[in-house]
Amino acid sequence: MNQTPTPPLAEVSQLAGRITSEMARVIEGKDQQIRTAVTVLLAEGHLLIEDVPGVGKTVMAKSLGRAISGDVKRIQFTPDLLPSDVTGVSVFNQSTREFEFKPGGIFAHIVLGDEINRASPKTQSALLEAMAEGQVSADGHTYRLNDPFMVIATQNPIEMEGTYPLPEAQRDRFMARITMGYPARTSEVAMLEHHAGGDRLATVSPVTDAASVAAAVRSIRSVFVAPVINDYIVAIVEGTRRHPDLRLGASPRASLHLMRTARVIAALAGRDYVIPEDVRALAVEVLAHRVLPTVEAQVAHRDPEGIVRAVVDATAAPNRG
């Protein structure tokens, strides 16, 4: 495979900046969420967006895909969606008298899994396995997924009707979870004005290509993580396991994801090494969806985000050498 040479970190930072500002043109007032999405893309992770319908989850996914001029496919998860709809299916071709693989919705750079918690667990797991392994196996063949490959799954809040909540093990495969939240009043007004002009997604122009993003991802892998930073990451994750308000703490995969996001954040800041602030920046987004509060904490309305934030604040950072 012919790879684009890895760019210096300064260029990675510029690339991310271009993607972010392009997306911000169509998603008003959600800079933090956009930055998180770009970070997750560069950290080779998948993003879970959890929110009520109509707040721009889909626009987020599509604008990201267009900005990197990658393929974007959308899979609308419904209760009757089959695993093969996701991964693809082998079909017998009458003319060639051979089975041909018809790729499913997952063969794209950016896959938008809409309302993932409406699908049956079986279909969900087909998606999640593909996400974890970066490949699909069908009829004895292995098909590699695109590079970069990122799933942006949206999920309605689990209290809503007709949903199958994602099991803990599967939520763990998402690098980060964000909520869009309702836009600020000014942003919403601006959105209406922009919508008057037609399809705003069409105005998003590619600022890079998928190969450049893949090269940037490889660049970021060279960012140095000092042993003290690894200790810090593990200390935070362990903190969630020991916290009395949590009956399930974060997994070792959470540590790995936290390190990768920290690396991207360091690279975007133009550094080739990670500082504790990089770890803290997305700790809540990376950890909160993986932990389960105790019943008592739920009753007391202590949400996972707050608990994780408290754990992060309580963990001593290696600032003092």
């Binding site: 140095f224 000092a226 003290v228 080739d272 090494y273 500082i275 001593a316 950072a317 003092r320 050498g321």
Partner: protein
């Protein structure tokens, strides 16, 4: 940081302990206590070495040393104590009591009685154990100066005049040895301690302690009388400008109305000449001072010629003088204010801040060794040598006839002493007239005229004349300036007035030292040895006379047996009451307490910025120092990594400080988190530069507060 214990350390501690006992020499006679002290420290060292080699925990080692030292000390105590039927504990208690009584009642040097030796054994054991605790258990070798300096400190307070500064050298040597032997930071890759890794920082700490001690001495010394002055306080820094004493003499003599200068009382009720200064130089333009080599230490014993000891209690009237009137040659003085002396002339000079006013209403006591050779001794004496050549220089341009005159006067005299007596008799003869109407000069022309033609003048002319003649005969001579003995009051004290201002010659005779003569006829009291008319064994006249009976035995051994100032009787109605002492003590304690935060902070800073740390440690401690600096200058320290913290603090700082802080933060961050690390050698310099710019920005008041009362020392942190 952990020091790894080193078997050498215990040995070095023991040796240092022994060295620190050497300043006992002026306090305790003999060296009876030294074998026992050596036994105690040897036991401690043996156990320390063996258990360290056996890798025993350091607290266990210390406990074993305490038990062993206690046991040996107890055994030696029981061996020293007289046989008794009492229990061991009672015996030792009794022994301690005897030792305490010996200390309280005896005068230094104390006789080495068993009780005293036992107390010294206990002291030795305590010093060695405290050192083990500080150096090995608590890993604070820098504080070893406290136990090591204990004996020296006691000496400095109790026998200040006998405790030479040189006794500090073994103490300091022992301290440095302890610092050097305490091993360095373990090197992470090898786990071994590079020898001397902490040397630089330890030297720094030693310097800090030196500076602190010096500053403390400077703060404390103006409050203490000279007798208790710390011996390490060297002479005054700046040159002291001394006024010409002959001018003052002129003024005093010619003053129309007489005025009281001082009253004094001597220990043997005899009158004395109170000298202020001596003028070694007499050249064609007159008698002059030479530059002095002022010193505050070594007064006792600086003049080593025989004489009779006398103690004089002087009460000055409101007279300013930069010279302390005292009989020649001063052995010890007990006077408020800062005083220095010149070892050549034995003049005592005020060197304190208000030196010109230092004598006003001053009461002081002086112990002097007054030269008092018998007439026979003087007659037999040859001219001395080995003193400043200035005192032998014959003034230039004398009239040739003076030489003939001197030859006539000396006549057949053979020894220098006989010649001097002949000159004195010549000047005191009826040929000379005492008058204040003579020119106020001791220049060559005046002296020639005085000796040859006029034969009239006052004290300076007689003195200069005799000096000139003596020098022509090869006898070193100089002019002493001061006060004649004055008038005896009914209560036995003497009153000296301005009209008693006087000058007289001192001639240097072999084996006798500087012997004063009295060629001025108006003064009716030459010492018997100088007065050819007096009976050699005369009992002295009832009139005030500076003479000292020659029937006293020669006093060669006297100077060393002088009482210490603590044994002086109090000046009646004067001196510092107990209230004053309390106030002084409270002040010292207060100053010491107030200086603690600043000193702690100073040590902290030097420790953090010490060289020889690993790159990460250096970065971490440099950054903590920056944090302390920011807190000390009134800023809130935000949480976070160096660069974000620097960014957050920058708006509160001036442009230069902010730039320096950002550079520091970047270096610290690189060294802590980056793959390549950073050059941390520059960090201490950067921190100091930042400190400088920050202090300049906040102004002197805030800087002083930050230095003296740094809030950061109150912030204890659990990490780092």
């Amino acid at each position: 940081m952990r020091f790894s214990q080193n078997p050498w350390t215990s040995i070095v501690i023991s040796v240092a302990t022994l060295l620190s006992l050497l300043p006992l020499a002026p306090m305790v006679a003999g060296y009876v206590h030294l074998p026992d002290a050596a036994l105690i420290v040897g036991v401690s060292a043996l156990i320390g070495v063996l258990l360290t080699l056996a890798r025993a925990p350091r607290l266990l080692i210390l406990a074993a040393q305490i038990v062993a030292v206690g046991a040996v000390a107890g055994w030696r105590g029981l061996a020293l104590a007289p046989q008794s039927d009492e229990g061991a504990l009672d015996t030792l208690t009794l022994l301690s009591g005897e030792g305490i009584v010996a200390i309280r009642t005896g005068a230094p040097p104390l006789e080495p009685e068993p009780g005293l030796v036992w107390l010294l054994i206990l002291l030795t054991g305590m010093i060695v154990l405290v050192l083990e605790l500080l150096v090995n258990a608590l890993e604070q070798p820098a504080w070893a100066i406290a136990p090591l300096g204990l004996v020296f400190g006691i000496g400095a307070i109790t026998v200040p005049t006998d405790l030479s500064f040189w006794y500090a050298i073994p103490v300091i040597a022992g301290y440095l040895a302890v610092l050097l032997s305490a091993t360095g930071v373990p090197d992470p890759p090898t786990g071994k301690s590079p020898p001397g890794a902490l040397l630089a920082s330890k030297v720094q700490i030693a310097v800090v302690f030196g500076v602190v001690a010096f500053v403390a001495a400077m703060v404390v010394s103006p409050m203490l009388p000279l007798g208790e002055k710390q011996p390490w306080n060297s002479g005054p820094d700046g040159p002291i400008q001394l006024a010409d004493p002959t001018v003052r003499l002129e003024q005093d003599l010619r003053r129309p109305a007489d005025s009281l200068v001082l009253t004094y009382r001597t220990s043997d009720d005899r009158p004395v000449y109170l000298r202020t200064v001596a003028l070694p130089e007499l050249n064609s333009s007159g008698a002059r001072l030479l530059p002095m080599r002022l010193s505050q230490i070594g007064l006792s014993g600086a003049y080593s010629f025989p004489g009779d000891p006398v103690e004089v209690l002087v009460t000055m009237a409101g007279v300013p003088s930069e010279y302390l009137p005292a009989p020649f040659a001063v052995e010890a003085i007990d006077a408020e204010g800062e005083w220095s002396f010149d070892p050549d002339t034995m003049a005592v000079v005020a060197s304190g801040p208000d030196r010109l006013e230092q004598t006003i209403d001053l009461s002081y006591s002086v112990v002097s060794t007054i030269p008092s050779p018998s007439r026979e001794e003087v007659e037999a004496a040859e001219a001395g040598s080995g003193v400043s050549a200035t005192t032998s220089e014959v003034p230039a341009d004398l009239e040739p006839a003076v030489e003939t005159l001197v030859a006539d006067v000396v006549g057949s005299a053979e020894t220098a002493g006989e010649k001097a007596l002949a000159m004195q008799s010549f000047l005191r003869s009826g040929e000379f007239e005492y008058t204040l109407a003579a020119p106020a000069s001791t220049g060559t022309d005046t002296i020639s005229a005085f000796l040859l033609d006029d034969r009239a003048g006052y004290c300076i002319h007689f003195a200069a004349g005799m000096i000139t003649m003596a020098r022509m005969e090869g006898i070193p001579a100089r002019m002493a300036v001061g006060f004649a003995p004055g008038e005896r009051l009914p209560d036995g004290s003497f009153e000296v007035t301005a009209h008693d201002a006087h000058a007289w010659p001192e001639l240097f005779l072999d084996g006798l030292g500087w012997v004063p003569f009295e060629p001025t006829p108006a003064y009716d009291g030459p010492a018997e040895y100088t007065d050819p008319a007096a009976e050699p064994s005369g009992s002295g006249s009832p009139s005030p006379t500076p003479s000292v009976s020659t029937s006293q035995e020669p006093a060669e051994q006297q100077p060393s047996a002088l009482p210490t100032p603590t044994l002086f009787p109090e000046v009646p109605g004067e001196g510092q009451g107990p209230g004053g002492a309390w106030l002084l003590g409270a002040l010292i304690v207060l100053v010491a307490l107030l200086s603690v935060p600043g000193v702690v902070r100073l040590i902290q800073r030097l420790w953090r910025l010490r060289p020889g740390q690993s790159a990460k440690d250096a970065a971490g401690s440099a950054w903590r120092e920056v944090e302390a600096l920011m807190i000390d200058t009134g800023r809130r320290w935000p949480a976070g990594s160096p660069v974000p913290v620097a960014a957050a603090l920058s708006p509160q700082l001036g442009e230069r400080s902010a730039a320096a802080l950002r550079e520091l933060a970047h270096t610290v961050e690189l060294s802590q988190f980056s793959r390549e690390g950073a050059d941390t050698k520059r960090l201490p310099g950067l921190v100091r530069a930042l400190r400088g710019t920050v202090f300049r920005e906040v102004g002197p008041a805030a800087s002083a507060r930050a230095v003296l009362f740094p809030p950061s020392v109150l912030q204890w942190r659990t990490r780092g």
